[in-house]
Amino acid sequence: MIWKEDVECADRAALQVLQSDHLKKLIPYIYHNCPVYKQKLEDAGVSPDSVQSIDDIKRLPFTTKEDMRDHYPYGLFSAPQEQINEIHVSSGTTGNPTLVGYTRDDLALWSDVMARVLCCAGAEPDDTIQIAYGYGLFTGGLGFHYGALEMGLRIIPTSSGQTARQLKIMQDFKPRIIGCTPSYALYMAEEAKELGIDPREGNWRIGIFGAEPWSDSIRQEIEDAWNMLATDVYGLSEIIGPGVAQECQYKDGLHIFSDVFFPEIINPETGEEVAPGEDGELVITTLTKQGIPLIRYRTRDIVSITYETCRCGRTSPRISKIKGRTDDMIVVRGINVFPSQIEHVLVGIEGTQPHYQIVVDRAAHKLDQVEVLVEVEERFFSDEIKHLTELRDTIKKEIQAVLSVGVKVTLVEPKTIERSMGKSKRIVDKRTL
């Protein structure tokens, strides 16, 4: 089933007309409602009525994560606060988090693209979905929830965690669809075995996995473990949350909903567009959003794109799985982690440039573990074990408050963290993704 066949299968010319229409309305809307963008457009020499077709998009300025951070919280809003119905917050690079604000129409858009995601993965209207993405400020849980509501699926909002209960609910209600992070799917398979449940006898048949990068070999492992179809969903909270792109049953790239999220792939150094099939940074323009519409947002995700029609009949362009990042962000249990966030916390506690290292590891079929090594400086060294453990616990607590993910903090001797070119090697990622 295709949720919005008229756009998902439209021929390329019709799609471009639609995209052009959207962009022609979007730019004046932003220009007149968002002073920050007005300035940005003026600086780029773009007058709002000069944008007449989707091809004009190349003349528009990029928007970066720094723009979001610098104008936190309300600077990039185009809609007034009274029209904002829901706010989500995700972790930013330092200090200020990244903010997402939805108007009523934005929530309707989110519901619509998430219904497309569910259909694209193979959900049918009378299916039951177990949503094991975290509910709350993280967009995963509520995003799936809204899409499933839109499609009329039966929803079991288990949220993340409490694995034994997740498995019991799977057995009691036999949901055919599961949504969670890929690493959690593998973890649950192991837990199921421990509890004497054969995952291959489990009820889930379709998995919609996302919020962290994963490879085809992990896909194979999940499909073998659960005897299911494992599909990849892509999204980022700045754009809308999950619901930007989704794999169909053919698992040959993720269909990006380009009638509302216009994709470009650029060379991150030069900003020039690269050819289809070539790797580059994904840039997205939200063509119809009202709350915080973004022009040419640089996702920092490295992908390639194809415009060929898929075997499933959808004409939408398809992006590859994420092949890398242009920055040093890592994803741990679905949460974005920037080394700069940890640095920010340590500066706050120690008052100086700290020496630290982040070690991410995943024991076989276990959840990701983050260990932060922090060098002890003379000023903070105390003869009292109590003071040192307090220091360690404070660091741990503050990092966890910023990241919303559990970490282990280990105090280490000075100069034990490797320094390359004067700068420490900040991240050691031991996982095989």
Binding site: I84, N85, V89
Partner: protein, 436 residues
């Protein structure tokens, strides 16, 4: 005083019209119930085989009670009146051990519940312009998603932050100038302690209202919350078996909670005999849900103790008011043969100004005797003073509590932050006596 309404016609309906609606809907609910395996049997035993057997509201008393174990026993599908395909939502009670209680909703059920929650929110004076930080846990628990639906219906700006991570909660309050919170009372008190510890000026926040619920608390706790945080606190009542929050809510008068009687029939019974008590007398709250088709529930014994007001409310609503929950039939402690409700102790200690925001009740056995130990956090500056003053305070707390429950407690004074903190429902009572 301006009294805001969500649905003024229904909320101020005269008594007889309200009862007419109740009767119509009760018949409908009986009809739904007869389609469930559980109730068809139960109602047949009571001689009710069709909605027509309900001639008047008084016939409800012929319906046998439903208890929590009934819901557990017929898990998962004994309570369904519709095909599983018509169920669009499943929630479950917080039963982390054993078999949870499962609640099913059809699309219409969710719609009616959402509308009721919008009614609750508007009754407190909150409006679309408000920024609503929903600090209750999201997921299977009904507290988070329930108010989420209601707040979106009202058109507020919803921040679905869920529970936990106090620092981030406070950051979000500051950054977005949150005006309305939905939170448990114990967590709100903890938030206050954290604000103090971080030296955050109350004036830098825009908080107007807190909707507090999910755990019983005393009037003095509410007052304390209102004074410390300079906020209006509104009591909320609901339980997942009956949909979740939204059974009863306080209006701008803040003088106990209106039960939405077009959606629920409330009865107060003597928990021992099962007989209905006079209006105004305390007893166990029994609720019948008139608006849930997928999994109807009749005369559910909540184990909550409360009474119904007989006086009308100044706001003009005709829906009767339920007192705060004064205890639970199952949280009653028997200490040295005396019945004690934790709420009685809370009521006493929370009115003592030196007492800070957290406390815990321990019961253990010393030799053959039960011993009640009350641990309270007091403001840190008190520890700097003379020891004799601390002794006097201890003595004072002891006497206050004894005057209420007859038992002589051991009182321990603690520094703020030393007792366990709960970022959701608090666990106030620790009973370490060996099980008989």
């Amino acid at each position: 005083m301006e009294v805001p309404f969500w649905n003024k016609e229904i909320e101020t309906l005269d008594r007889s019209s309200l009862e007419k609606i109740q009767l119509e809907r009760l018949r409908e609910a009986i009809g739904w119930s007869l389609k469930t395996p559980f109730y068809s049997k139960k109602l047949a035993q009571a001689g009710i085989g069709s909605p027509d057997d309900i001639k008047g509201l008084e016939d409800l008393r012929r319906v046998p009670f439903t208890v929590k174990d009934d819901l557990r026993r017929s898990f998962p599908k004994g309570h369904l009146s519709v095909e599983m395909t018509d169920v669009v939502r499943v929630h479950s009670s917080s039963g982390t051990t054993g078999i949870p209680t499962v609640i099913y909703y059809s699309r219409e059920d969710l719609e009616r519940w959402t509308d009721l929650l919008a009614r609750c929110i508007v009754a407190t004076g909150a409006a679309p312009r408000d920024i609503f930080q929903n600090m209750m846990t999201y997921g299977l628990f009904t507290g988070g998603l329930g108010l989420h639906y209601g707040a979106e219906r009202v058109g507020m700006t919803v921040i679905p932050i869920s529970g936990g991570n106090t620092k981030r909660q406070i950051q979000v309050m500051k950054d977005f100038q949150t005006t309305v919170l939905h939170i448990t009372p114990s967590y709100l008190l903890h938030i206050h302690s954290q604000l103090q510890a971080d030296g955050i000026d109350r004036a830098s926040l825009s908080l107007d209202r807190a909707l507090i619920g999910a755990e019983p608390h005393s009037e003095n706790t509410r007052r304390k919350i209102e004074e410390l945080l300079q906020i209006q606190a509104f009591n909320s009542y609901g339980l997942s078996e009956l949909n979740g929050p939204g059974v009863a809510f306080e209006c701008v008068c803040r003088q106990d909670m209106h039960v939405w009687e077009d959606a629920y029939i409330v009865e107060i019974i003597d928990p021992e005999t099962g007989e209905n008590v006079e209006d105004g007398q305390e007893g166990e709250v029994v609720l019948t849900n008139l608006i849930r088709q997928a999994a109807p529930i009749l005369r559910y014994r909540t184990r909550d103790l409360a009474f119904l007001h007989t006086e009308p409310c100044a706001c003009g609503r005709t829906h009767r008011r339920l007192s705060r929950i004064r205890g639970r039939t199952d949280d009653m402690l028997i200490i040295g043969g005396v019945n004690v409700f934790p709420s009685q102790i809370e009521e006493k200690i929370m009115k003592i100004p030196e007492v800070a925001t957290n406390y815990q009740i321990h019961v253990d056995k010393k030799g053959a005797l039960d011993r009640l130990i009350i641990k309270v956090e007091i403001y840190p500056k008190l520890f700097l003073g003379e020891a004799s003053k601390l002794d006097a305070l201890r003595q004072h707390i002891k006497e206050e509590v004894r005057s209420s429950i007859v038992i002589n407690p051991v009182v321990e004074l603690h520094e703020p932050g030393s007792l366990p903190v709960f970022e959701g429902k608090a666990k106030r009572v620790v009973d370490t006596r060996p099980q008989e």
